[in-house]
Symmetry: C3
Subunit: 210 residues, 3 copies
């Protein structure tokens, strides 16, 4: 079952990378950009968060020796460009796929960091960096307000889910259960935010000063 999940994890990771790449291309498309720039946006969105994580941890950057990640990110970006009318029709679907990708990226990052022997706090931070880093770089390069400045609940499910996952690993001696529960928690919270347009409660938010 563990191996099955890890195998499944491999496929979901590749799916997540593809989906992230597509969201990067879509961000650029809306602003108007040429195919090369869109390729960069797609690849940076898909690979950027994990790159920052690995540079901070001083371990080899994950895609430098695993070219499949690069090919999938590049292929999905080019595909997205050529069929983008289709993708913008299914943008809502993409948001949900992105939520699965975020959940998986975050949890795999936490596993990686814990296995390197770092404490839970570092694992949570790296989970968040991996989950949102690529999207932040995408927003900066495409000259948009970063996702941290937007209203919808995007990063919070990642942070809470990271804490939930580590707590589960600690208190429940069942890796598979913890893994599935945290996945469902992150995806469920993010999907709810998309579906019902949830935002932070007012007392946890500030208004822009005019």
């Amino acid at each position: 079952m563990l191996t099955a999940i890890q195998n499944l994890g491999g496929w979901i990771t590749l799916t997540a990378i593809a989906v992230f790449a597509i969201t990067g291309v879509l961000a650029g498309l809306r602003k108007g950009a040429d195919i090369f720039s869109l390729l960069v946006f797609g690849m940076v969105t898909a690979l950027g968060g994990g790159t920052i994580r690995d540079m901070i941890l001083n371990v080899p950057v994950f895609w430098v020796d695993e070219l499949v990640f690069v090919w999938v990110a590049a292929g999905a970006s080019l595909l997205a460009f050529f069929v983008y009318r289709m993708f913008s029709q299914v943008y809502q679907v993409l948001l949900y796929l992105d939520a699965i990708g975020v959940a998986l990226f975050t949890i795999q990052a936490i596993d990686k960091v814990l296995n390197l022997g770092h404490p839970p706090l570092i694992a949570v931070i790296m989970g968040v960096i991996t989950g949102i880093g690529g999207g932040l770089i995408r927003d900066i390069l495409t000259d948009r307000p970063t996702l941290l400045m937007r209203r919808d609940l995007y990063a919070t499910p990642i942070l809470l889910g990271s804490i939930v996952y580590i707590a589960l690993l600690h208190f429940v001696p069942d890796f598979v259960f913890s893994w599935l529960a945290a996945m469902i928690f992150i995806f469920g919270l993010r999907a709810s935010a998309i579906y019902w347009d949830l935002t932070m409660p007012g007392w946890l938010t500030t208004k822009s000063e005019k």
Copy 2:
């Protein structure tokens, strides 16, 4: 006396991290953001400069094995959110605290880089990166013109102070004196800039083209 200063230095560093975190939160507050984004802004402002420095130097990133820095940055950020009305009233005080923090970060970075055996030029560059790196990332993530585009004298005291400190270390065989003199130099110049609203002389500045 040296140990006393180093102990004192430890406390001032933690104070500096807290103050930097608070300035990050305030930057986000003014634009309107939720608590999680503000937490990221606070932590990035407090820890970002040193992170870039350590990644470029290819040494372990300072907070990965020293969790106290992370906790202080996170705690100060959350505190700043919940009592921000107080903080915005004392914003002027914060500017001066920030000036102390910048002076300390810069000088400690120079000590670190010189102790790693790098030449003075690299030490100056890393002093500047440590002093302004966190603020630059904060400005980028909160979608503001970066501090390098603003008028007030912020980065120049850091650069000049770095050079003064290294010259003192070279010519005055007294670490404590050099350390105190450089601290006073950087803080004094920055505090003067805040108090009298100093900017660069005109011949060292260009005007924006319309």
Copy 3:
């Protein structure tokens, strides 16, 4: 001949660094900035791309042990500030010098990465990062739309030239020929884009949504 090219390469690299630094200063000049900020823009533009490349590859950052790169970047930046009226008159010339610099940076990065034993795909990616990374950071710090959002053909010659160079190295057993041919290819394509104001064909571009 190989040594001659490598010696020549050393000089051209320094020229390229100087030219990149000058373009960074010019970008800041137009927005209005003080001399210190301009120094940062110049140095970041000249050294930023290679810095990101080396951090991702987990090798020592190239300028940390080769101070000549730092001095040239700093000197060219200061020079550019003091004689900027001259430079803005020769801005067109600078664009062509920049094209030489980009070609050289890209090809030297590919050589470096291949010599480290990485596969061609990684070499191409690092060639592109080295060629455009500095310019991207410059655009972000000076609060302009990044070069990836602009219309003119800047990054595409770099990508195509990287692929051409690696293909030549593979199929033509003559390093000098491959090197010169790739240089001419990248420079020629970029120079044509400057001279005739070339952009991507429409079917490889998207328009901004209003």
